[in-house]
Every structure is written in C-alpha cells, then in structure tokens.
Amino acid sequence: MFKDVIIGQYVEGNSFIHRMDPKMKLILTLLYMILLFSVKSIPAYIIATVFTLFIVCLCAVPFKLILKGLKPMIFILLFTAVMNLLMTRGEPLISYELFGRFTLSVTKEGVRIAVLMVVRLLYLLIGTSVLTLTTTPLKLTDGIERLLKPLDVIKVPSHEIAMMMTIALRFIPTLADETDKIMKAQLARGADFESGSIFRRAKALIPILVPLFVSAFRRADELATAMEARCYHGGEGRTKMNVSRIGSRDIKALVIFLIFAAAAAAAEIIV
C-alpha cells in the first residue's frame, strides 16, 4: 500500500536534467512554482504547458512513472476542483436547492478557475516529480544544505535540516515495510481496518501505531549510537565525497527557463 510513495524514488539516468547541479534544479523548481502561480491567462498557460512537456521529455524518465507518482495526489486534485466549482460566485450554470435554504451553484467562473487550478497543481506535481525522479535523495538534501548555508548567520541549522531529511528518506522504506508487517500481523489476529465508522477505523489503527512508534524510537536510539561510533559530530569540519558545482549546463537551463518565463509574462501583459 505504500508502493506509490514517490519520495526518494530516484530513477537512474544520464539525461541533461539528471546531470544538472542539484542546487540549480532546486532554484529552477522554485522559480517554476512561482511562474505557475503567477500565470492567469490562457496563452500564458499554454506556454507553461509547453515548458512542462519540454522538461518531461528532457528528463528521459518514462511518463508512466511520473503518472504513477501522481496517483496518490488524485484526491487533493479532486478536492481542489470541487471546492473551486462550488465556491466561486458568478454567473450560474447549474443550481441546486439544498433543504430549500442553501443554493449550490456551479458558475462559469467556477469552472474556469477549477480547471486552471487543477492544471496548475498538476504541473506543479509533475515539476517536483521530475526533480525527485532525476536527483538522488542525497544530492537533493546536499543541494538544500548548500542553498541554506548562507542562512547559517541567522542561525538556520542548514546541516541539521539536511541530515534530518537524509535520515527520513533512508528510513521511509524501512518503516513502510514495518507498517505493512505489523498490519498483516494484526489482520491475522482478526483486526479490521476497512469497515465501521471513521471513529472505529481510527481506533483500529492504534495497535499499529503503538508498536510502530516503539520501534521507531528504538531505531533512532541505535542509529544515533551507530552515527556517533562513526565519528559523527555535527556539520563542523565535514567534507563530501561528491561535490557538484554549478556549470555551463546549469546556466543553459536557467537561460532556457528565463526565456519561457519572459514569454509567459509577455503573454500575460498582451492579453
């Protein structure tokens, strides 16, 4: 049941995007998000679409895999669509009387905003999937650490944040396996997670969560000892096996993105 979790599901490859510096990939992902949330007109959306398709083709990861990663997000997408459909005021297309008091209506503006919002979120998810699918977790956390490094002066614990993420990524599969195991063990004893009210189902989760937490604390304790035994003493004086630097490839990527962004901005202004 946890097989769809895409975090840390790096796909080996040698594409242009795979070989980019993780810092630049993170910066571009951030800029891409900002772009997605600032476009409003249809032509600008078309430009964003072209750019999204462009990076999907460029990253040489099978499109099926990207779609698989989107599956767990379907609920959020649907929720966004429904909320926008029902909550936007304007010229009503369909109306429905509820208990003779409230009127639920789907408006023309609602449809438009819902579609745009879903497309926006979809592109956002695709963009971040491309990032995580083409970057090893270690490179990713390394990139975050290096980007946050300048914030050390205002006491942002950049190394600790990166280390926490590394360990979280390392233990997600382990804990997912363990949850599966505990769940099967409880099922074998007749536990029922699928029927009953929400309250009952939540209660049925307690026998899973308690052993999971106990084991997580034990693991944390042992891992801390093992890290200490391997001379871990914080970020001070640490070196890295792989040091990546921003190179001409990354500058090229930045320029390409800026061209698309400028085109989108122009489209916004003209319309």
Partner: protein, 283 residues
C-alpha cells in the same frame, strides 16, 4: 592495544516512584586486546557484552577504572574522534546503522565526518566495498539488500575510517545461516589478510570456536579468558552459567564420559578425526 582496566559501570534508571535504581552491569572488568588478535566474547543475554563493547570506543565512559586505546584514555574528550576512527564498531541490527539511502553514500559517511578530502573518500569507498565484496552493489538501496549483504556494507562503512580495531556486537544475530557465513568469513579474511584486530561478540559457539581467543562474560564479569581450546575445555563452568559448547566439543565430551578414548576437540574436523582414530584402535 585496547586495555580495559578494572572497569565498572552502572546504568541509572529512574523508577516510577522517583527512586534512582542502579543497575551494575560491569563489575571490575579487565581485558587486554593485542594488535592482530581475534578475540571472541561470549555470554548470555544481559551479561554486559554490549556495554563492554561500547566502552572500547568511548560511547560509554567507565564509572571507575580506565579504558585505554593505544594509550589514549576514552575519558579524554579531545581524543574521542581519534579513538573512534581507530576502533570501528558494527552493531547487531543492520537496518539501524545505515544513514544514507544508497550503499556508497553510507560507506562515505564516516570519512566525511572525519573531514577526509573528496578524492580520498572516493578511493576508500571503492576499496572498502571491494574488500567486503559489495562493489557491484555500490549504487543499490540498503533496503533492497539481504541481511548478510547489509552487514557487509556496515563492515565496509566502518573500514572506511581505516581503523586498527574492529568490534562487532553480535553482527550475525539477525541473519540466516548463509548471511552468517558471509559475514564471519569476511571478518576472518580481514584478520588474516589485513592483520585487522577483531573483537567479535557472539552467542554462536561455532563462531567463537573459530577465534584464537575467547573471553566469557557472566553477570558483568569476565569469568574465563584463554584460547578457544582452553575455554571450551571448561564444559562444567560453561554449562553452569547456561552456555553451550560447540556441538563437536559436546559430542567428544559425551563419548569420553561413556568411556571412549577421545581427546578434547573444538572443531567438527577434529572431532571426525578423533572418532575415526578411536574406532580404528577398537577394531
């Protein structure tokens, strides 16, 4: 040389009613491990083996007594990194000692902590993965490996510090027989070919029998210390504290009790030979 001199240690546990409960786990323990030795430490659960091991690289500091690694005391905080990089430690649960989500990054963890230059880290990672025979898996995720493979990666991760001593705390306890064999043969090869000093904590008698020297712990004390042959000769003492002896030793012992003329043995091969000789004499 690892010198443990009259070390005592207690865990302090706060009871529900606020009393502090002292649990004396090591009681005046002395043990010296010389360079190049292969020492096995035996003892049943809770006898203090792990606690003793954690003293050897300064994770725990003795309450009384001293623990010296090549003359450096583990009490000296400034020397702690030097001590730890010299005394590598492998733990029981392979899942709970890996930090990174890719094998080679995990092996790089220790030298990164020590501030080793990048190219040198790369060289060490490749070398150590080759030593334990896991180089082909350098890009793999630890969660996809078998128990024996994970433990070999853990050994490589420790070797990357280029330690003189390696302490293994029940490294095979969670493995299947195949994984156990992989790990034990790797440790023996390190000892033989690289002259690595090994301290192996185990509760498998066969593993202990393959060590040069065996120390037996019971209730926080070392009660026997000698060559494997000497220690397993004390069958009565071992049985008394609830430990077994290797099956071969046990068989020879039982035959001897029954009046056969069979000497003390510790390996299966010796046992086979001794029985064959005894049968020959008889016929």
């Amino acid at each position: 040389m690892i010198e443990i001199k009259n070390v005592s240690y207690c865990y302090h546990k706060e009871e529900a009613d606020g009393r502090i409960n002292e649990n004396k786990v090591l009681n005046n323990v002395s043990l010296t491990v010389h360079e190049g030795e292969f020492v096995a430490i035996l003892g049943h659960n809770g006898s203090g083996k792990s606690t003793l091991a954690k003293h050897m690289n300064g994770i725990l500091v003795p309450e009384t007594g001293d623990c010296l690694i090549d003359g450096l005391s583990t009490r000296d905080e400034k020397k702690l990194l030097e001590i730890r990089s010299n005394v590598g430690m492998v733990f029981q649960n392979p899942d709970n000692q890996m930090v990174a989500a890719v094998v080679e990054d995990d092996v790089a963890f220790a030298p990164e902590n020590l501030g080793v230059p990048s190219e040198e880290i790369r060289r060490r990672v490749d070398e150590c993965l080759k030593i334990v025979g896991m180089w082909d898996y350098r890009r793999a995720q630890p969660s996809r490996l078998s128990g024996g493979q994970k433990q070999r990666v853990a050994i490589a991760s420790v070797l990357a510090m280029e330690p003189k001593y390696i302490i293994l705390d029940e490294p095979t306890a969670m493995l299947d027989p195949k994984g156990r064999e992989e790990v034990i043969s790797t440790i023996h090869r390190l000892n033989r070919e690289r002259n690595m000093t090994v301290v192996l904590i185990t509760h498998y008698m066969e593993e202990a029998a393959s060590a040069e020297r065996v120390a037996v712990m019971d209730d926080g004390e070392i009660i026997l210390d000698g060559t494997a042959r000497e220690v397993f000769h004390e069958i009565e003492i071992l049985k008394n504290i609830g430990l077994d002896v290797p099956q071969a030793t046990e068989l020879a012992f039982m035959l001897r009790e029954d009046g056969f003329n069979i000497p003390h043995v510790i390996t299966v091969d010796e046992c086979v030979q001794a029985i064959a000789e005894a049968l020959e004499v008889k016929s």
